[in-house]
C-alpha cells in the first residue's frame, strides 16, 4: 500500500506490477455509467458493441429471410404482398451485406488487431467511436424505414433505372442510397485505423513475417475497403443526385449510362465479397494452428494468397454483367480472371489441409466450424467457377442457382469461420467459455440446415426459377423443392437460435476461461480475459511467429512508457523496431455529437439538397469541438 506511485511525467522503469496496474487503470479506464458508455474510445468496448450490433442485424435479417421462405413455401401464396416481399429481400440483402457481414468482420478486427499485435488501443480511437455511431444510425435508418413500410424495394444492388427517379417514386431508394453512405463512412474509418494500427503500432520485434494471419487478412481487407468503397460512394451519391437534384448520370436519354451504375456498383460489389471473405480466411488461419497443435503450414503462401486475392478481386466485377451484352472479348478476359482467383483460394485450402494433415487435431467447436467451412466453401467456390464462365452464366445468372452460390460462399465461406471465431475468442472477450456441448449442436444444426436449405436451390435455378420473385405459379413445378427449402430453413434458424442462446447464457454462466484456455500462440492470449482497458501492462516483445509457444515461460516486455497519460509504442513498418512513444486520445463525447450531426445532415438531405449546406454547419461545429485542445497530457507532443 505504501509503495510509491509513479509521478506524473515519469516513465515506467520497472515499477511494481500492482502499482503499475493501478496507474494504468486510472489512465486508461472508461468512466463508469451512461456517460462513460457514450464517450468511450476503448477499441474493445467499441469492437464488442459493433459485434453485438452486427449480430443483432443478423438476427433481424434472418427473421426476414424466414418470412420470405414462408411466402415462397407455397405457390401463389399471399403471406407477404409483392410490395412487402420486394422490401423484404432488399432489406435482407442490404442488411446482410452492409450492416452485418462487412461491419462484423471489421468489428472483429477492431477488437482483435490491437491485441494480436500487442498495442494498447487502435489508431484514431475517436474516429473508431464515430464509426460505430454512424454505422448504428445507418442501420436504424434502414430498419426504421422498413418498419414504416418505406423500406427500399429495388434489390440490394439497386439497379438503375428501377432505382432511379422515374421508376422508384417516393423516398425508398433514397433511404437505401443514404444507408450506403452511412455504412461506407463507417467502414472507411475503420479501414484507415486498421492500416495505421498494423503498420505503425506493432509490438517490437513483430516483423512482417511474424504478423498473425488474421491481421494480414484484416490489413488486406482494409486496403480493399479503401479502394473499393469510393466506387460505391460515387455510385450512391450519383444516384442521390439523380433522384434529388435532377442530374443525369444514369439517364441514357441525356447522355448518362445505365450500365455505368452496374460497373461502379460491381467494381465495389465484387471486392465486397472478398472484404467479407478475407478476414474469414484469416480467422481460419489463426485458429487452425491452435487446434492442429502445430504452426500453420505455408505461412508465406498464405500471406501471398491473401494479397493475390485482394488484387485479383478488382479484376472480375464484370462477371456480374455477362448478360448485359458487353463485348465478348472483354467478357472472356473477365472469365479468365474470375477463374484465376480459384488458384490462390486453392492454395489456402491446400495449406489448411496440409496443416490438419500434419497436425494432431483437437476437436473443439471452432475446428468443427473450420471443417464445415472447408466442405461448404469449396462447393461454393466451384459453383463460382461455373458462374464465372460466360456461357454458363447466361443460364444461371439471376436465378436461384446464383442465390445458392453466394449463400454458399458468404455463409459457408464467411459466417462459418466467423461463428468458429466467436467460439474461439468468446473467452477472451468475456472471460467465460461457450458451451462445448451446445456448440456441437450449433455446428450440426447450422451445417445440416444450411445444406438442406441452399443445396436444392441449385436445382431450382437450373429449373428456371429466377431470383427475386415474390411468388411463382403452381404449374411451374417448383413447389415441392421450395417447400423443402422453406422447411429446412427452420432447421438453420434453429441452429442460429441455439447459438444466440448459448452466447447470451454463457456471458454470465459460462465456465471461467482463464488467460489462454486453448493454449494458443498469439499475443491476445498473453493478457487477461477479458483484457484490461490498457490491454498489456507492458508491451510484449516478439521473437517468433508464435510468441506464446516459443516463449512459454515469460514474454520479454518493453518498459519506459509513461503511465499518467495514454501512450503507445510506434514501430517501423517492416521490422517493427520501436521508433517513438505516441499519445493516444482520451474519451470524448464529440464523436457521438459529430455522428448525430452528420446523421441529421445525411437523413435530411434525402428530403432537400439544402440540408447538405445547412447540415454542414453543425458538423463543422462538432468537428471543431472534437479537435479543440483540452489541456490534457495527451495534447503534449
Amino acid at each position: 500500500m505504501s509503495a510509491p506511485a509513479i509521478l506524473p511525467g515519469e516513465l515506467d522503469r520497472g515499477a511494481e506490477r500492482a502499482i503499475l496496474h493501478r496507474q494504468l487503470e486510472r489512465t486508461w479506464a472508461t468512466p463508469a455509467g451512461f456517460w462513460g458508455a457514450l464517450t468511450t474510445v476503448d477499441h474493445k468496448t467499441i469492437g464488442l458493441r459493433y459485434i453485438v450490433t452486427a449480430f443483432g442485424f443478423l438476427a433481424l435479417g434472418g427473421v426476414l429471410a424466414l418470412a420470405m421462405r414462408w411466402q415462397l413455401a407455397r405457390p401463389e401464396s399471399r403471406v407477404l404482398s409483392a410490395d412487402l416481399y420486394n422490401q423484404a429481400f432488399t432489406v435482407h440483402g442490404a442488411n446482410m451485406m452492409f450492416l452485418f457481414a462487412v461491419p462484423v468482420m471489421e468489428a472483429m478486427a477492431v477488437y482483435l488487431v490491437p491485441l494480436m499485435i500487442g498495442t494498447r488501443n487502435i489508431a484514431f480511437p475517436r474516429l473508431n467511436a464515430f464509426s460505430y455511431w454512424i454505422y448504428l444510425f445507418g442501420g436504424i435508418l434502414l430498419w426504421a424505414a422498413f418498419a414504416l413500410q418505406i423500406g427500399p424495394d429495388v434489390g440490394w444492388f439497386a439497379y438503375v433505372p428501377l432505382s432511379g427517379p422515374q421508376y422508384s417514386s417516393g423516398k425508398r431508394a433514397d433511404i437505401w442510397a443514404q444507408m450506403i453512405t452511412f455504412t461506407e463512412i463507417a467502414a472507411l474509418a475503420i479501414a484507415v485505423e486498421i492500416v495505421v494500427t498494423v503498420f505503425k503500432q506493432r509490438a517490437p520485434g513483430m516483423s512482417l513475417d511474424r504478423i498473425p494471419l488474421f491481421v494480414w487478412g484484416a490489413l488486406v481487407t482494409s486496403f480493399l475497403v479503401m479502394l473499393a468503397m469510393p466506387a460505391i460512394m460515387i455510385a450512391s451519391t450519383s444516384l442521390i443526385l439523380d433522384r434529388l437534384v435532377g442530374t443525369h448520370f444514369f439517364n441514357p436519354t441525356e447522355g448518362g449510362d445505365v450500365l455505368l451504375w452496374q460497373h461502379l456498383f460491381w467494381f465495389f460489389g465484387h471486392p465486397e465479397v472478398y472484404i467479407i471473405f478475407l478476414p474469414a480466411t484469416g480467422m481460419v488461419s489463426s485458429m487452425l494452428p491452435t487446434f492442429a497443435r502445430r504452426p500453420v503450414f505455408g505461412y508465406l503462401p498464405l500471406v501471398l494468397s491473401i494479397v493475390a486475392i485482394g488484387i485479383l478481386s478488382f479484376g472480375l466485377w464484370v462477371h456480374h454483367m455477362f448478360t448485359t451484352g458487353l463485348p465478348r472479348l472483354g467478357e472472356s478476359f473477365f472469365t479468365a480472371s474470375s477463374m484465376a482467383i480459384a488458384v490462390p483460394a486453392g492454395v489456402q485450402i491446400f495449406c489448411w489441409l496440409a496443416t490438419l494433415w500434419d497436425g494432431r487435431p483437437v476437436w473443439r467447436t471452432p475446428l468443427l466450424f473450420i471443417a464445415a467451412f472447408i466442405v461448404t466453401f469449396v462447393l461454393g467456390g466451384l459453383t463460382g467457377v461455373m458462374v464465372a464462365s460466360v456461357p454458363l452464366d447466361l443460364q444461371v445468372h439471376d436465378t436461384y442457382f446464383v442465390v445458392a452460390h453466394f449463400h454458399y460462399v458468404l455463409i459457408g465461406g464467411a459466417v462459418f469461420p466467423l461463428l468458429g471465431a466467436i467460439y474461439y475468442w468468446y473467452p477472451k472477450m468475456t472471460g467465460r467459455m461457450l458451451s462445448e456441448r451446445l456448440g456441437r449442436w450449433v455446428v450440426g444444426l447450422i451445417f445440416v440446415g444450411f445444406h438442406l436449405t441452399f443445396f436444392p436451390m441449385h436445382f431450382l435455378g437450373l429449373q428456371g426459377m429466377p431470383r427475386r420473385v415474390y411468388t411463382y405459379q403452381p404449374e411451374m413445378g417448383w413447389g415441392a423443392a421450395n417447400l423443402f427449402v422453406s422447411l429446412s430453413s427452420i432447421l438453420l434458424a434453429a441452429g442460429f437460435a441455439l447459438f444466440f442462446l448459448d452466447v447470451i447464457r454463457s456471458a454470465r454462466r459460462g465456465p471461467v476461461a482463464g488467460d489462454n484456455p486453448w493454449d494458443a500462440s498469439t499475443l491476445e492470449w498473453a493478457t487477461t480475459s477479458p483484457p484490461p482497458p490498457y490491454n498489456f501492462a507492458r508491451i510484449p516483445v516478439v521473437t517468433s511467429a508464435n510468441p506464446l509457444w516459443s516463449e512459454r515461460e515469460a514474454l520479454p516486455v518493453v518498459t519506459g512508457l509513461r503511465v499518467d497519460r495514454r501512450e503507445i509504442v510506434i514501430s517501423s513498418v517492416s521490422d517493427a523496431t520501436p521508433q517513438a512513444r505516441e499519445s493516444s486520445p482520451r474519451d470524448s463525447i464529440w464523436p457521438l455529437v459529430t455522428a448525430v450531426a452528420a446523421s441529421v445532415m445525411l437523413i435530411a438531405s434525402i428530403f432537400t439538397p439544402w440540408a447538405v449546406v445547412w447540415g454542414a454547419i453543425p458538423v463543422a461545429a462538432a468537428l471543431i469541438g472534437w479537435f479543440w485542445p483540452k489541456g490534457l497530457p495527451e495534447d503534449e507532443a
Binding site: L38, D83, F137, I140, L141, A144, A145, L148, Q149, I150, P161, G164, P165, Q166, Y167, S168, S169, G170, K171, R172, D242, R243, L244, V245, G246, H248, N251, P252, T253, E254, L592, V596, S599, V600, I603, A604, F607, T608, P609
Partner: protein, 178 residues
Amino acid sequence: MRALAPAVLAALAFAGCQRETRDFRTDPPVLAALDDVAPLPNRIGGAPPDVYVALGQPYQANAYALSEGKRLYDGMNCKGCHADGGGGTGPALLDGWWRYGPDIVSLYVTLRDGRPRGMPSYADKLNSEQLWQVAAYVQTIGSYRAATAATSRNDQMQSRPSENRGPARAPLTEPPSR
C-alpha cells in the same frame, strides 16, 4: 441521446409515411364515390367527394400516386398539347396563370369533362382514381402549391428542372395574353 436519435428518425419517417403507402386496389364503390365531386355552377372550384377527404387527400400527398399521374400524363398524350408544362397548342401549366384555377376539383372536372377550347374529356379514357392521379400531378406542375410529396423526374429528354426539387415556382408577374 441514444434514444433520441431513433425518436427523431421515427418522427421524420412518420411524416413521410403517408406519402409512401401504395394501395393498388381501390374498391369499385370507392372508385364510384371518388367521382362524386361537386363543382360550382361555373365549373371552377367546388367540393371534393367525401371519400377523398376521408382518405386524407391521398393523391396529392402520395409520391406513388403522383408518379402514376405523371405516367398517365405522358401516356394519355397530354404532352401533345401542353408539353411538359410549357404549353404549345394547349396553355402552359408551369406558369401561375390557369384558366380554371389551381383547385384540385377544377382540375378533376377539367380532366373528366373537358373544357370548351379544345381540352378533350378523359371520362372515357381513365377511371376516377387515375383522373385524381393526373389531376394531382398536374397540380404539382403549377406554381400554386408547395407539396409534401414530389413527383419523379422522367428519364426522357430533360425539358424542365427536376420535379424532385419541389414545386415549380413561377414569377407571378405577367399574365399571359390569352
